[in-house]
Amino acid sequence: MSIVRYSELLRLTWPEIAVTVAALLLLAFDLTVLRRSTLKVRLRAGMAVACAGCLAAMFLLNHAAQQASLPDSMLVITPLTHVVQIALLALAIFTLLLSASTRFTGHVGEYLALILFATVAMMFLVATENLLLIFVALEFLSVSLYILTGFDKQSRQSAEAALKYFLFGGMSAGFLLFGMSLVYGLSGSIELPRIAAALSGPGLDPLLVVAIVMVAIGFGFKVAAAPFHLWAPDAYQGAPTVSAGFIASSSKVASFFIFAQVVVLALPAAEGRGGFRNYSPGWVPVLVIVAALSMVLGNLAAIAQTSLRRLLAYSAIGHAGYMLLGIIAHSPRGLSALIYYVITYALAALGAFGVLGTLESEGIDHIQDLAGLYRRAPGLAVCLLIFLLSLAGIPPLAGFFGKFYIFSAALAAEPHLGLLWLVLLAVAMSAVSLYYYLRVLKAAWVADAAQERPALRIAPITRVTLWLLAGLVVLLGCMPSVLLNLLGPW
């Protein structure tokens, strides 16, 4: 154990501190000054404080050291973690803005503060290479998300979703902890780089295989990959819309990043091979199976859904399968592709949930209820088109380049073309996915409502946020190099 210098710690965690302070201030304001104000005022004020905190954190991040670390790999800051943290903050801001028209709860201060706390947890999660801190941050994140899921106290579904999420989550945390303890037992360290050094010997310890499977289960749950996905459809359906969007976007980004960090940094020697002919044990074949299952199950199950949220949930499972390809590639390019994919996915998914939130306040939940949307809310219909087509991977939207990049990274992985079968499966499944996305768009764009309904009322702030998100999706699709430049020197 080396000594932690607190001044150093303070210097490196300014952004996280900014967000935490914002959360606390927000809670305090809500309890004292704004106590007698109307819900709307409290919401707006809280949002302003929260967004200010996130913006301050982004500003601090921009001016902080690009490369730094604390002893024991407690905090390891690299240009890459910077990008991910900024993305997380941006997503948090969008989430906060989308909660502007929240009506379901009177506890707005707590709600917004929880979003910020979860963001802090994620910022720590991505910036550490210490198993212990990873676990703590992950649990902090999960607990915040459980509460966010069950926040709608009037809704039975929300409570059910939270309970399901919590039970599955608790169990998977157990698996993860068990796997981590095995890794610690085998290597004698909780720092990812040291674990790699200790485990670099030839051959694969059977115990390590167990550890790998446990870790894969733990993280597989967090990223909602099949067969650990059972919580996702219920949580997405029952949770308040903004919470669901938050779970689908931010937490995906953070979980995938740290998942990749753990297996790539700690277990580089135990990768194994996932090729069709040249198979050898390790974490790659485990993830290959998980990825293939997620792609097939998520996309096929999404076809049968009639509820928009469940459809998005199953499609998220499918997307988790594609994203795993980036980890499986096990190369710097793969990591860069993964981050690009998960960020653009998060933007599109959050946007889609934002649209859903607006629709649900008008009582629209099922696909056929969308009929006539192009007439009732043309702008919203365009946004929905952009988000869903990006998820389907249609150029020139961001989702397309993400797919191309991640597939090319997977194919370029050693040995060349070894994962061709998996990429072919992924490509085929993305063709399947177009079907259900088009079904939604068909309802929104083609069908006319049975009876004429009035135009939808959309809060201006929601409108602006959705257009911003849509603009980002288009921009990142047309000019991917903007983000790629930050993700790695090529």
Binding site: Y374, L389, I394, P395, P396, F400, F401, F404, Y405, F407, S408, L411, A412, H416, L417, L420, V423, L424, V427, A428, S430, A431, L434, Y435, L438, K442, W445, V446, A447, P480, S481, L484, N485, G488, W490
Partner: protein, 513 residues
């Protein structure tokens, strides 16, 4: 300057969407299409034989070696010209769209812009991007504005349209998924440095790689070219689409597929056409396989067209048959055959446009039926003589009468086939004969049907006369097929030198004759 064909279409789409009135949207769309046509014509006028014009070439995604590279050779220019003609005619023939007019022209022009983009792209990634951009508007054009056969009303009508639209979108997307996989694989194998078509065409891909990459990419594109047995989207899609969209689908979109087969599959992976070294059921190479599939398409398409009861399906299946000639021409691997194939792309684009215009706009929009048996008693030749004359001329062009472009194209394909795969000529000839039969049948039934029993079934409302936009559109298309038919050098001088350019060197080295 050619790059503006793309931009003008996308800008036109935006302008049409935001247009204050329906008439404004129409005029704006027409202007955008005319601008595209004018740009291609100007390029044609300034073209020097064998030229390769690089329009724009800037790095786009340098991390992956992807460039924004627009360029044109003679083959591209031929197809750009076709796109300009078909787009202009399409807009003229959809002058009567009243339902969500602004959106219709917006989707239409996005589709056109995507098509221009494909023909101009000399970076594989860019080509693919434009190729996919074209898919989504097709879906909406059919699903929202499509036409349906008589008898299907309300719910049922909508369901049929959506079925056809979804089928088309999924077939296209499945095909492009194959292409995507092939593209990524090619990128990986060539070292991940470039996706430029020029660069990749110089790269010597390993023969065993080409052996599986070629059929994958070829089939991926050929789905959109209507290759049997992946053609089934074509007749349903064409029949369900609104007139302008069927004109574009048959006229231009199917050419995207054929163009991709030539430009990507054959140009990059020529060794995929080499003999396998063994025979399975008499097939010795992918070339044999695809040639036979093309041949089946020719005969099958024509035969099925012969027994259709729905006028639009007749034309839909005839497209499958004519596109078979394109694929057969490609598979001859002779200069004259390939020249014929590209010419056939142009020719069929124009002729199919004309035929669909007659069926969809002139006849269906007036009589509201597509059933041959119901059209027969209407004596349409007397009621709308202009439509009858147009159909006769288009039919003559379609069956390959000398003097029309169809003759030059199919004749060249057959000569190429004779040199390369002689026994196939006989079967393709049968296809042509059946083609004459179904055209004759459609013509006589629809326009020169039996006179109805005296007094009975006489149309109570006289049909509205042919409008000016329709006449202009027909004349444009007729002029195109006649000019090319009478003076084919206008296009062959573009195509042949391009086939002899360094880009196709790999293809010429193989079994080329």
């Amino acid at each position: 300057m050619l790059a503006w064909t793309i931009y003008v279409s996308f800008l036109g789409a935006l302008a049409a969407r935001l247009a204050p009135s329906k008439q404004a949207a129409r005029v704006l769309a027409l202007l955008a299409a005319l601008a595209g046509l004018a740009l291609s014509l100007v390029a044609l006028a300034h073209w020097q034989s064998g030229q390769f014009v690089s329009v724009v070439d800037v790095p786009w995604i340098p991390q992956l070696g992807i460039d924004y590279h627009l360029a044109a050779d003679g083959i591209s220019l031929t197809l750009l010209l076709l796109t300009g003609i078909a787009a202009t005619a399409g807009i003229l023939f959809s002058w009567n769209i009243e339902h969500r007019t602004q959106e219709f022209f917006a989707f239409f022009l996005v589709l056109i812009g995507g098509v221009y983009g494909v023909f101009l792209s000399f970076d594989l990634f860019l080509l693919f991007v434009f190729y996919e951009i074209a898919i989504i508007p097709k879906y909406f054009l059919i699903a929202i504005w499509g036409s349906v056969p008589r008898g299907a009303t309300g719910e049922n009508a909508g369901a049929q349209r959506e079925y056809a639209a979804m089928k088309l979108a999924l077939y296209s997307f499945a095909g492009s998924a194959l292409v995507l996989a092939g593209m990524v694989a090619a990128w990986t194998v060539s070292g991940g440095q470039t996706l430029s078509l020029e660069g990749l065409s110089q790269y010597a891909f390993p023969a065993h790689f080409q052996m599986w990459a070629f059929p994958m990419v070829f089939v991926g594109f050929a789905v959109l070219a209507g290759m049997w047995p992946f053609h089934t989207w074509a007749p349903t899609g064409h029949a369900a689409a609104p007139t302008a969209a069927s004109m574009l689908l048959a006229g231009v979109v199917m050419k995207l597929g054929a163009y991709g087969c030539l430009r990507v599959a054959m140009m990059l992976f020529p060794a995929g056409l080499d003999p396998w070294g063994f025979h399975v059921l008499g097939f010795g190479s992918w070339r044999d396989v695809f040639a036979v599939l093309a041949l089946i398409g020719i005969v099958y398409g024509a035969s099925v067209a012969l027994v259709q009861r729905d006028f639009k399906f007749v034309i839909g299946y005839s497209s499958v048959s004519h596109m078979g000639f394109v694929l057969l021409g490609l598979m001859t691997l002779t200069q004259i055959g390939l020249d014929g194939a590209v010419l056939q792309m142009f020719s069929h684009g124009v002729i199919a446009g004309l035929l669909f215009a007659v069926v969809g706009r002139m006849v269906y929009d007036r009589t509201h039926t597509r059933q041959l048996s119901e059209l027969s008693p209407m004596q349409l030749a007397h009621v709308i003589p202009f439509a009858a004359v147009t159909f006769i001329l288009a039919g003559m062009a379609s069956i390959g009468m000398p003097g029309f472009s169809g003759f030059v194209a199919e004749f060249q394909v057959l000569v190429g086939t004779w040199r390369a795969l002689p026994w196939m000529v006989a079967i393709a000839g049968v296809g042509i004969l059946v083609g004459i039969a179904f055209t004759w049948r459609a013509l006589t039934t629809v326009f020169f049907g039996e006179a109805p029993a005296a007094g009975a079934g006489h149309t109570e409302h006289p049909l509205p006369p042919i409008t000016l936009p329709e006449k202009l559109g027909s004349l444009l298309l007729l002029a195109a097929t006649l000019i090319v038919g009478l003076y084919p050098r206008i296009l062959t001088d573009l195509i042949v030198p391009s086939l002899n350019s360094p880009l196709f060197e790999g293809l010429r080295k193989g079994v080329w004759r």
